[in-house]
Symmetry: C2
Subunit: 229 residues, 2 copies
Amino acid sequence: MLVWERPEPPDRPVPAPLSRERIVRAAIRLADADTLEAVSLRKVAAALDAGPMRLYGYIATKDELFDLMVDAVHAEIRPSGDGWRQVLISLADTTRQAAHRHEWFADLIGGRPQLGPHALARMDAVTAALGGVDLGTAVPAIAAVDAYVVGVVRREITERRAERATGMDKRQWQLTYGPYLQRTFATGRYPALATAVRDGPHLDADQTFQAGLDFLLDGIEARIARLSP
Amino acid sequence: MLVWERPEPPDRPVPAPLSRERIVRAAIRLADADTLEAVSLRKVAAALDAGPMRLYGYIATKDELFDLMVDAVHAEIRPSGDGWRQVLISLADTTRQAAHRHEWFADLIGGRPQLGPHALARMDAVTAALGGVDLGTAVPAIAAVDAYVVGVVRREITERRAERATGMDKRQWQLTYGPYLQRTFATGRYPALATAVRDGPHLDADQTFQAGLDFLLDGIEARIARLSP
DNA sequence: GCTTGATCGATACAGTGTATCGATGTTGGC
DNA sequence: GCCAACATCGATACACTGTATCGATCAAGC
């Protein structure tokens, strides 16, 4: 064959160079589209036209990939506002919104040390914004809001999945879990809970989130007021 | 061979009858001794002298086994006390203690709907104990405390594991993560966080937990006082 | 006593994370 | 310019996972 007739190089001549960022983005795409369990090193590698072992040049282990995914989400969390109260509200809100955008975030949050650059940057921003508050209050206050958000986000995502697993809306969910709950409530074993469910407030997710956050912030406010009258 | 010389039946003549409870106990033993990841259906079955598929007569799926494990832990959580504040403190404390006894609990808590009999019984007991509080406040208050505890417990167990992974005590941990943190702090990228770590309060786990819980309870108390002056 | 039916668990399958190590490409020495 | 030594990379392999399948096994009914 004549050299000048050499066929075109294949469509993907040189495999696109990999990077931690590309790997993390591919993993997040997989997790967003499905579940965290859908993220396997093989699938991530396949999405990048690479063999599984290729990834190990960039990440040491699958857990490290998860850590990087979590830190990437922290980059999306940018609390802002005037005054400590608004900043903490914003911290809670933006974290919650990020978890709603990336449901798998709820599975990882709080489960690994958060020492990535973006997580630290977010903590730094919040700490700076609370500059007016004495550190003895600010530090536990931030920790408390963080913990509360972790718990709320997990519960919310869990409930959302349960609803989605049975049908699509809340009506369907009640139809599926209803019989079981009806039966167990009918035993009369949980009388207080039954009346609370029947007569108590029927708050939606946003309202419940706000109510708990208000408790927390009111408690913090009381302490601040106590210290600087 | 003569029939009356028939050898003794094997040491385990009849395989011990299985039950959900025995299976769950075996799984919890495995998880307590190691990690949740150490719980595989094969190992659980082996601990009960059974083949893996034998378990499927009692549980439908591995997730269901996890749900049962979580509910078994809920049976250990028995909040008590006089007055709504003490009951909520007890709810938080006993939940936290259960998580410290079963570290894997932190991996599952909040991650699945908690509709098992013991979880419902615990919720019923708490709801009943808050009988004196108007339902519009009691329901979100319980939810908030629950969420807060979930977040705290996850953070605590995560930190404990990180410490244990590097050595055995906090000194070792600082020696290992120290250089990385020192380097990142030395960049000056997180000035507010750096001063907070340097000058802020050095609370231990118990104190941080108490501080956040106090914020929450003070906020709840304020609302109760506002409603019934 | 034989057939039929149900039950149970050994085998098999598709998938996982990652250790190993030979093929490959690159560089240094002469 | 050529070859050898070295480093790098990723295909193969391994041990393990949850669980579907379905043939062997045992009990019931006539």
